[in-house]
Symmetry: C2
Subunit: 329 residues, 2 copies
């Protein structure tokens, strides 16, 4: 805390950490959310929550240094986390893409102790949606649905200018059932949007088709680029090579996204849909167009579709949304 007490001349700044299954993105911004420094560290794949918290603290410390600050000089640090987040208690449980993280872990307290400033937790997709609303492509609207197309398919809602969390678990658009008794989903259920469009589910499906003898360059490409998983970049390269299986699976994903998003629009009649996430950001405008086109046949008010935009903040949306949590306190 000494650094904070001596920080009379330092600029007012906040920190934001986006905790993903692959990487930890940390930023330090001024109070207008201009990025002053950032750092990206890989997420630990072994150990437990305490190891992940250490890696997060290291990333945030590096981002603060890049901004010429000590973490303890920050007004606070926000965290966007996967799993079941209890903001009030400062805990995260059941973060299934993170190592050994099933039981509830006091992440806010662990980080506050390591960084010497207060820490606020939020849901990763929720804060990324709010970032798009406050700072990104959602700025012109009062109601929107954020769809994060990546390893899974996450969703976030802004209704009448406020984040909507329901009883705490709202936004699970990835688990909209689009085909009753359809494909097995990684959540253990069947026919969910995510089972057709999530990168995780698509990789499992591609592997199963490949093992049955269907040809694809997806796994060779991953090996050539030193990847042990089919990243967004690998899918993009396979499409560029005209790989038939990759094309078929991505085409199917686009249709699934169109169906699931259209059902949400029919229920909520929101003004805008914002497409983000690893695949969403990587594939960009042509896929924004394709998703909007795939929604059209399922829209009840088809003469008045919502605006569909690409996420305006790209990869930094999650960390910016996390930083916004500090001001929200």
């Amino acid at each position: 805390m000494e650094a904070a007490r001596q920080a009379g001349s330092a600029p007012e700044a906040v920190g934001g950490i986006d905790l993903g299954g692959t990487k930890i993105e940390a930023i330090v911004t001024d109070t207008s959310y201009r990025v002053l420094g950032n750092a990206r560290h890989p997420t630990p794949t072994t150990g437990g929550p305490a190891d992940v918290a250490n890696a997060m603290a290291a990333a945030l410390t590096e981002a603060a240094k890049a901004a010429g600050l000590e973490p303890a000089q920050l007004l606070g640090v926000g965290v966007g986390s996967p799993g079941s987040v209890d903001s009030q208690a400062g805990t995260v449980a059941r973060a299934e893409n993170l190592p050994g993280w099933y039981a509830s872990f006091p992440l806010a307290a662990a980080l506050a102790s390591a960084l010497g400033t207060k820490v606020t937790l939020g849901n990763d997709v929720g804060v990324a949606t709010n970032a798009e609303f406050v700072l990104g492509a959602g700025q012109p609207y009062r109601s929107l649905l954020g769809v994060f197309w990546g390893t899974g398919v996450g969703g976030g809602l802004i209704l009448d200018g406020q984040p909507w969390h329901g009883r705490g678990g709202a936004g699970e658009i990835g688990h909209t059932v689009i085909v009753e008794d359809g494909r097995h989903c990684t959540c253990g259920r069947r026919g969910c949007l995510e089972a057709y469009a999530g990168r995780g589910a698509m990789e499992l499906h591609a592997r199963s088709l490949h093992e049955k003898g269907e040809k694809t360059r997806l796994f060779e490409l991953a090996k050539e680029h030193g990847r042990d998983r089919l990243t967004s970049g690998i899918w993009e390269r396979a499409l560029e090579h005209g790989d038939k299986m990759a094309t078929k699976l991505i085409d199917r994903a686009v249709l699934a996204l169109g169906t699931g998003i259209a059902s949400a629009v029919n229920l909520l009649d929101i003004e805008a849909v914002i497409i983000g996430g690893g695949l969403g950001v990587r594939f960009g405008e042509p896929y924004r167009d394709r998703i909007a086109e795939a929604m059209q046949p399922h829209l009840f008010n088809d003469s008045r579709p919502p605006a569909v935009h690409l996420a305006g903040l790209g990869d930094l949306g999650g960390a910016l949304g996390a930083a916004l949590l500090v001001a929200a306190k």
Copy 2:
């Protein structure tokens, strides 16, 4: 207007009209929404909007008389209407279950002139949902989804204590896609919940199966009871007779309702679901249980399902919700 001016000693009362495809339900209530008088008239099946407006005025006048009042003595009359309702303009367009009602018709002005009091319009399902929230089974909750299982499958939302209309067209849970490229829906699209669960769609499906030689007593029962359509009562009788086709179609409808409602819960995480509508009210508690059970396999947070209740106001919910529009002005 003379009656209104002379009404110093009359009780303060409001009117509500629920305009359905089959019947017009009119009520007059005191300002605590206790019913003082009501009347039910068949909806005209020929003519146009002006004829429907006349029938509505006649029904409301009869309800007022039963309460010992003239329509012009009412503080106002609310109307829950199908179709595309513009509350501000006082118009209704595209009420496809009503005769000759495609173009916009100034229903509020027509009724105000016939009744001598101000008239406020709302969406039929929206006002019925609000009635359950304010006066019915939804009273303990701040967020709920109303599902009206009848000729179609309509939906209404209360979020954080306020009706949610989106850009004016929210609540179309009947057009949640539950089977991509699935059964043809009466809306012209495919695979919608309503295509499996709406009474209109089920009747078309039953007729088509019957014409292909599949046995059912549904159409005989309708004839025996002097019905030209398969009403809720006819479906109930067929189930009581153990009719195989009726059982199969209703079982399929229950599964479809479970799937579509669960997807909405996954997105919104609302506290409660209220089941109403002609079939919902007729089939009652055993089907409330069955729908809740059919939701369960699709709920992402399956350890914490929302409460599922039957509509508490039964058939009068629509008219009570319409009456609530008067106070809301």
